[in-house]
């Protein structure tokens, strides 16, 4: 048993994957908690899928797909944040249109690109086991930025999310906080594509924070707990997928969902017992 475990950690790709797991957990723990409490899950789904347009175009032009995805997702995040501050268009409709438009552009350009696109599947479903040193460096920079931003502006972030009108009366730079977080959300999404893929990212951003929210009702604790939950589930997911030789992205998400169901069941049982006692 011990030998299998040491064997497991000896592979370079496993080491890379675990390093990526730590960084991803920080990013998704912090950004995911913000997305969940501010109810931006649908918006994040929109940005994720819109970024596929960038991947398609970059692919067609022979550029780095992650670069293309970054441009697309940052622009769509800023656009949606702008719309949400102006309230001139129905926000959910705007997200819906952007969501499918991005996918359509992506599909079209991938189709137009001559030759077979073998790595395309990795963008849709991701693979943390094939993550590169460059990807890890990008994750490291983003995790650092996210950590710095949240530590420096914890209270403004919390109260812009809670009640931005009131924050404005307190001269909190609501727009600066809103746009900065929009950029961080967009970049988190793009950098997480490598690990779990476009289709699965949204669960990485929502499940850990929702598990944490079952246990705690304080933003700070939700952030820290979801980071921890994220890390445990990603590592467990990697180990299981390695052992069973199945796709890592999907395994990670299913592991997370299992944790969610366990946490939710315990909560429901405890509430039942509590009401019976009363």
């Amino acid at each position: 048993m011990l030998e299998t475990v040491t064997q497991f950690f000896r592979y370079t790709f496993i080491q890379n994957a675990l390093l990526a797991a730590v960084l991803l957990s920080v990013i998704t723990g912090f950004i995911g908690s913000y997305i969940v409490v501010r109810r931006l899950v649908f918006l994040s789904g929109g940005i994720t899928h819109a970024s596929f347009g960038g991947i398609g175009i970059a692919w067609y032009l022979g550029l780095n797909p992650i670069l293309g995805a970054s441009v697309f997702s940052v622009l769509s995040a800023l656009g949606l944040e702008y719309l949400s501050q102006g309230r001139t268009l129905r926000e959910d409709s705007a997200i819906g249109m952007l969501w499918s438009f991005g996918m359509a552009v992506g599909i079209l350009f991938v189709f137009l690109t001559p030759g077979y696109a073998p790595n395309l599947m990795s963008f849709l479903f991701g693979s943390i086991l094939t993550i590169s040193k460059t990807d890890i460096l990008l994750l490291l920079i983003l995790a650092g930025l996210t950590l710095l931003f949240f530590v420096a502006f914890y209270y403004p972030i919390l109260f812009v999310a809670f009640d931005s009108d009131f924050a404005k009366t307190q001269n909190v730079p609501v727009k600066f906080i809103g746009y900065s977080l929009a950029i961080l959300i967009a970049l988190s999404i793009v950098f997480a594509i490598r690990a779990v893929g476009i289709i699965l990212i949204i669960s990485l951003l929502t499940i850990p924070a929702n598990i944490a929210n079952i246990v705690s009702h304080r933003f700070k604790k939700i952030i820290l707990l979801s980071t921890l939950i994220s890390l445990i589930s990603i590592v467990a997911g990697i180990a299981i997928s390695f052992k069973l030789n199945v796709p890592s992205g999907a395994t990670i998400i299913i592991t997370m969902m299992a944790f969610y169901l366990i946490a939710k069941s315990i909560q429901i049982i405890r509430q039942r017992i509590f009401t019976m006692q009363v």
């Binding site: 919390l158 809670f162 009108d165 009131f166 404005k168 909190v172 939700i222």
Partner: protein, 260 residues
């Protein structure tokens, strides 16, 4: 000591709205020290738009809003409608109250011991100090309003702005709230939006009718004829022990706004 009234906030010839839709036209209103202004008007008449202009949430198409800040306290303390608050948001009562000091605290760091002391004193005054570590989701409507009132007051504002403070509030607290406001009015100007003309005319000093335009009424007594002349078709429902100076027709449409 009786101070001469000084201008705190001036709304000068403001036209405002959303996109191409103009909600308020050529509206002017001056809030002076010692003022207690009740804002009334039909739904969609622009009461909320006026509040948004005054708290700086909305920029006018034309005209201007001038703020005269003086002294140590902040200029505006704002109590939004309780329905605007996401009750599932993971934040404690104490944190919400302290967030009224965000401006004084600055962008970085936490709150001082003295600031936490002020928060506790305020919570004691409105009787929610035993709830300070609860999540806001565990509060009743009236308790949440009290917490939001503490948040509005903690920065010692010169103008207190209340947007329908009597919705979701039990009638016992409603009476206490108005008495509290009357006392607070000795220290700060108050601007209150309300559907409840009965309480408005009992507690406020002057009335502003908002319906596309704004008519300022220099007293708290107002008649049907004046309301009609001001183009301010509002419906009031009589209830509670508060004396009513004016009663208009009941409106089914408006009854759901009065839960007591």
């Amino acid at each position: 000591m009786i101070n001469q009234p000084e201008k705190l906030i001036e709304v000068v010839n403001v036209t405002a709205g959303y996109g191409k839709n103009i909600v308020l036209r050529n509206v002017s209103l001056t809030i002076n020290t010692n003022d207690f202004i009740g804002i009334i008007g039909p739904n969609g008449g622009g009461k909320t738009t006026l509040i948004k202009l005054i708290i700086g949430q909305l920029k006018p198409f034309s005209g201007e809003v001038i703020f005269h800040t003086k002294g140590n306290g902040s200029l505006i303390g704002y109590l939004p409608q309780a329905s605007q608050i996401d009750k599932n948001f993971p934040v404690s009562v104490k944190e919400v109250v302290l967030s009224g000091l965000l401006e004084k605290k600055g962008l970085f760091g936490g709150y001082s011991r003295q600031q936490k002391g002020i928060a506790l004193d305020l919570m004691k005054r409105v009787g929610i100090d035993h709830l300070q570590n609860k999540s806001i989701g565990q509060l009743s409507g009236g308790q949440l309003q009290r917490a939001l009132l503490c948040r509005a007051l903690i920065s010692d504002p010169q103008v207190l702005i209340l947007d329908e403070p009597n919705t979701y509030v039990d009638s016992k607290f409603e009476g206490e709230l108005y008495e509290m406001l009357r006392k607070l009015n000795e220290q700060m100007a108050i601007l209150m939006v309300s559907h409840d003309l009965g309480t408005i005319t009992t507690y406020v000093k002057t009335i502003a009718c908002v319906n596309g335009t704004l008519f300022y009424h220099q007293s708290n007594q107002i008649t049907n004829e004046q309301l009609a002349a001001y183009n301010c078709p509002i419906q009031i429902i009589a209830h509670g022990p508060v004396p009513h100076t004016v009663l208009l027709d009941h409106s089914k449409e408006n009854q759901h706004n009065h839960q007591h």
